[in-house]
């Protein structure tokens, strides 16, 4: 295998294009929405201010908040020498400072990373994932998590979520406003207007939510890709994903002979694959698809193609 320890990661161009398009759509949606609200006479600064403070707190405290809410315990190099060494090696390859490491005491296999930038990153793994994966697979998982940090995914999603949070906040306020006619008795002269604003808010919220979910999925594919490049072993993450998600259960009950008869009539399902409506609501892309992409990347890397 050739050396892959260069800082510049090979980007999946289609993915990057879709990602930027989604971000653009999101920005566009909220710009139009802000104009609409101003035209309707809403006080944006007030709501934006409150939500802004919430998000900033979350953004800067995320590592501490997550440590507290998940029961993760930060570990030292003495407590977890092997894990420390592994994270250190990967961080070096990303050319980022050594992140904090935490372990969560649970049998459920999982791992995550957080932190607004590489200087404030935290990587956490559960004891369940440590037990279940071998070294190569665990390295791939941590490589994926560090890729989120290297790609600044926290920042991108913080901004995207900020806009969605503003909308949901506004939605709640408008709802109570309509029920009780608050805000200085403007109800009588502005009842229909509020209703209108409320409906538009709901629509914007819904579309915004879908765009954020799409963006999250793209970042997830991106982290798969970056992590695989850094570790030089896309198959390892695919193996790990299969192992911890119990995808073994995806192996079907069906007999191959049945497929042949059914397949002749199935023209539409093949066309519906990909970005179906089911996918729109999930934050992580379907595992099958991630594994498939990783296996393809593995093949390309094995044969030295890009």
């Amino acid at each position: 295998m050739t050396s892959t320890s260069t800082r510049k990661f090979h980007k999946d161009r289609g993915l990057v294009t879709r990602m930027y398009f989604t971000m653009f759509m999101l920005g566009f949606l909220y710009a139009v929405f802000a104009l609409f609200l101003m035209a309707a006479g809403m006080q944006l600064m007030f709501i934006g201010g409150i939500v802004g403070i919430m998000v900033v707190v979350q953004y800067y405290m995320s590592d501490k908040l997550i440590l507290r809410s998940t029961g993760a315990k930060e570990v030292t190099a003495e407590q977890e020498p092997a894990l420390h060494k592994m994270v250190k090696q990967l961080a070096d390859r990303y050319e980022m400072p050594m992140p904090k490491i935490a372990v969560i005491e649970t049998a459920i296999p999982n791992a995550f990373a957080t932190g607004r930038n590489p200087q404030n990153a935290l990587v956490a793994v559960t004891t369940g994932i440590q037990q279940r994966l071998n070294e190569r697979e665990l390295q791939a998982v941590i490589g994926h998590e560090l890729a989120h940090v290297a790609n600044r995914d926290m920042r991108v999603l913080a901004v995207a979520n900020f806009l969605v949070t503003v909308t949901s906040f506004l939605m709640t306020m408008l709802f109570w406003n309509m029920l009780f006619g608050g805000m200085g008795g403007r109800r009588n002269n502005n009842g229909g207007g509020v209703m209108m604003v409320y409906l538009v808010t709901i629509i914007v919220y819904f579309i915004g939510q879908l765009l954020v979910l799409a963006l999250t999925r793209y970042r997830e594919y991106g982290a798969d890709h970056t992590g695989a490049e850094i570790c030089g072993d896309p198959g390892a993450l695919a193996d790990a994903l299969e192992k911890i998600s119990g995808t073994v259960n995806n192996i079907p009950d069906k007999d191959l002979r049945k497929l042949q008869t059914a397949n002749a009539f199935l023209i539409i399902p093949a066309a519906l694959k990909g970005e179906g409506s089911m996918n729109l609501f999930s934050t992580h892309p379907p595992l099958e698809e991630r594994v498939k992409r990783l296996r393809e990347l593995e093949q390309r890397m094995r044969y030295g193609l890009r």
């Binding site: 073994v248 192996i251 009950d253 007999d255 099958e288 093949q299 044969y303």
Partner: protein
């Protein structure tokens, strides 16, 4: 695969199917796999197709009289779902693979490509699987799907549809991929074949 960055995935049946020879050899050297002498080709039998109607004569021709013929023994078996099995037997694994390919190719070349379902190889597996249980001399089938041009392992545990050893299949699938076999990427396509006649 060359410097020009050509085929990343095999495009024809032979380049996909022949990956099984090397993978089998490597796993046999590791003591994980022993081949049996048997393999088969399953296709949807079509009586209006003259080649398929005279399959016995045609295969005798193809397998015994041609230059470089492997002289592999074959049998014909029909199942209750309108499928026909050509069961082949040969002690030399790479001969067995090329014969399986030849049979499938002959059927395909004679207007039977759409009815070709799968080629199946029988092998025995010994090793520890994903849930840390040990299997010794476990009978496994490596199914090659013509429509996907890829293999996957199949380990039935009974005669009924759905009865299969998934942890063993997953483990074997990983190993086979690691050793160069063209393995079907999508697990949902790993459909079984219950009641294989060998």
């Amino acid at each position: 695969m060359g410097i020009f960055g050509g085929n990343k995935t095999p495009k024809n049946d032979w380049s996909a199917m022949s990956t099984v020879i090397k993978a089998e050899a490597k796993l046999q050297a590791l003591g994980e796999i022993t081949p049996s002498r048997r393999a088969g080709v399953i296709y949807r039998n079509d009586e209006s197709n003259s080649f398929q109607r005279d399959i016995k004569i045609e295969l005798n021709d193809v397998l015994y009289s041609g230059e470089g013929s492997t002289k592999t023994a074959f049998e014909i078996e029909d199942d209750d779902r309108g499928m026909r099995w050509i069961v082949l037997e040969d002690g030399n694994f790479s001969d067995l693979v090329s014969t399986v390919y030849t049979v499938g190719n002959a059927i395909g070349m004679n207007d039977g490509a759409d009815g070709l379902l799968a080629a199946v190889f029988e092998l025995y597996f010994t090793g520890t699987v994903e849930d840390n249980t040990y299997r010794s001399g476990l009978r496994t089938y490596w199914i090659y799907r013509y429509d996907r041009k890829a293999f996957y392992p199949f380990v039935p545990t009974g005669e009924n549809e759905g009865e299969r050893d998934r942890p063993a299949e997953a483990r074997l699938g990983q190993d086979l991929r690691k050793h160069g076999l063209a393995v079907e990427k999508s697990l949902t396509e790993w459909m079984g074949l219950w009641g294989i006649p060998f």
